[in-house]
Subunit: 377 residues, 2 copies
């Protein structure tokens, strides 16, 4: 929690639940990532937090953008980004969206299937295309592997076909999974990509770019490797496999850029023990839950840290749940949280490192609760 956020919460006491994001801290993270991976071009994964204040700051810093939809492309353009700095990074795109993006000047598109490639050839003729490979997501808290990416063999077939279709076979991408806590995943994926580069080169196609995706982790409850370690591991692997002929490198950080810049401020609505006995588990219900923005607590995958007004006092194991009438609106039941015994209804507490994947997951009005308020400072 940055000093600016601490001050803002103390002075403004904004109504809960709300998200407070320190945009200066996003800038600091951008610089940290550039320093750790100086050869990589940053394509911010807009989906992590598409707030105009964040996009505008990143445009000023010279960032490029990874957009998941035509809606996000419009958000980038509205923030001042150039179309040539936007990658349409969703392997699943509507024809109408491809056509509109192409018309707006976007000319970098991902694909991982034959049908998508045909759509790109028809509706974004001549564009640069890159193929997403499926890679292992072991070590990631929020895996992405089943839904996206194709095999090395099929990628080769499709990239060869892209030439026939009048597209420019530009590169390869992969994603090691979000909140990836191991550097090995990147190293293994780079080796795979490099082999396919060689293979395609022999077939007459010289790819220009490797998109390393995102996945760089932030600290929730567990410690994680520093970003420098990821930078070193990736640099080493790239040099090992590509030698002096390093291709253009893209990265698509989302969580890493914004998570640590944000804090969710929430109110305790109820503290109870189901059966009324001291031996019953203690439940704390907050005024934000899985449908108010904390969607990544599904399966208790992402485990946020808490800050309470009673920190330092004696704590006990606590189940943490949301305010809705929905039975699945429970954040932490298996991975209980150590929270102070002193906690009671009306207390204001903070969930740390919540700047990413919170505001947009929030439901429009589940159980009659308004969408999460957002403050960018």
């Amino acid at each position: 929690m940055t000093p600016k956020i601490v001050r803002y919460l103390a002075e403004q006491q904004p109504a809960t639940p709300c998200l407070v994001v320190d945009v200066d801290h996003v800038e600091a993270r951008y610089h940290a990532l550039r320093d750790a991976l100086p050869l990589a071009q940053i394509y911010y994964a807009v989906k992590a937090n598409p707030a105009a204040q964040i996009l505008e700051r990143l445009v000023r810093l010279g960032s490029s953008f990874d957009a998941a939809s035509i809606g996000e492309i419009h958000q980038c353009l509205a923030a001042g980004a150039q179309a040539s700095h936007i990658s349409f990074g969703n392997t699943v795109k509507k024809v109408s969206s491809i056509r509109e993006a192409f018309g707006l000047g976007v000319d970098l598109f991902v694909f991982d299937s034959e049908e998508e490639l045909a759509k790109l050839a028809e509706h974004a003729p001549g564009s640069r295309v890159f193929c997403r490979l499926a890679v292992e997501n072991e070590g990631a808290d929020w895996p992405l592997s089943r839904k996206f990416g194709t095999t090395v063999d099929h990628a080769k077939t499709l990239l060869l076909k892209s030439v026939e279709l009048g597209l420019e076979p530009y590169g390869l991408s992969f994603h090691v999974g979000s909140q990836q806590t191991s550097t090995t995943a990147y190293e293994t994926a780079i080796a795979k990509v490099a082999m396919l580069f060689t293979d395609l080169s022999e077939a007459g196609i010289d790819l220009k770019m490797v998109n390393l995706g995102g996945g760089f982790p932030v600290r929730y409850r567990d410690d994680i490797p520093e970003i420098e370690q990821f930078g070193l591991a990736i640099g080493r692997a790239m040099t090992e496999h590509f030698g002096n002929a390093l291709p253009q490198m893209l990265i698509e950080p989302g969580r890493f850029m914004v998570a640590d810049a944000g804090v969710v401020s929430t109110e305790v609505v109820l503290v109870s023990r189901r059966g009324g006995k001291e031996s019953d588990p203690r439940w704390v219900y907050l005024d934000i839950g899985r449908f108010g923005g904390l969607a990544e607590t599904e399966g208790e995958a992402i485990r946020y840290r808490f800050r309470t007004p009673h920190d330092g006092l004696a704590t006990g194991e606590t189940v943490v749940a949301g305010p809705s009438c929905d039975g699945v609106d429970i954040m932490y039941e298996k991975n209980r949280v150590q929270l102070p015994h002193a906690l009671s209804s009306g207390d204001r507490i903070e969930l740390l490192t919540t700047g990413a994947y919170v505001s947009t997951y929030c439901s429009t009005g589940f159980n009659g609760f308004a969408p999460l308020a957002e403050h960018y400072i």
Copy 2:
């Protein structure tokens, strides 16, 4: 899918994804439920679908309302409901919400914990309160049991205490879980409730009401018992346990009232086989997914039926996923859907029985996709 919706989709071809709800069908369901459970007062569970058109129709029919939040209470009042016909049915309520609801004339509140009871005594003095019991949710596709309700012993203690606190101990409630497909769950719960009625009567407290909750199922992919069977089973159990001294009966249907009145119209964005081989599983990506409203497909719990333009042609097992870059945005992978081989990008298909728990679960803008459009006809 009602004839009115078929006609509307054919004539209007509204942009996808969208939800189309036949409000007349909601009225038909209301009557069906009244016929099946003539002694029960209907408190529509607003959370299932809070559209003004639905609430207004139900007000005209004489329905009462089960609200999960102060926001839903405002929605009911705006639709013309009287405060005396609203139950504040969330066991987890902010103090500010209790105070506001009480100020608006709501005087029926649920609780299941000591802290909540104290909050009600202070901020809604003299109100009618009912205690929620935890009951078995076996047989429910969307269970609610872990998060809500207390033990019979604790309920007794709390209801005795409510008198000391100046509240009116009004009744007991339970919830057998949403999309409950077995009548047994109700029968077992009623037996439990009846014992506590007797117990409390001996302690000098005569409760007046049993709130049977909701949970009444609708037909998705599997057949379910008719509502008449639930009506008969509940009626029999009530008579068996309460004899001629039947208490007031409340039911809180949500899904049953609106699910079957709605259809989600969606477009196929992509059809692919991950590795490009015929032996690879076929994936169909729609322009709506788990974060666009189909949240109840989490864990593949609720399994919607599909209608496609190629129905009747040869089908194959298909994984169905949403349009976002999120790896968990997969609706059916274990429970694959039989969909026509002929299906391809651009085809328009319908998800049936989607009038409940869709529009409000929808995210505000995940991955840059706009909230689900809604049409009430």
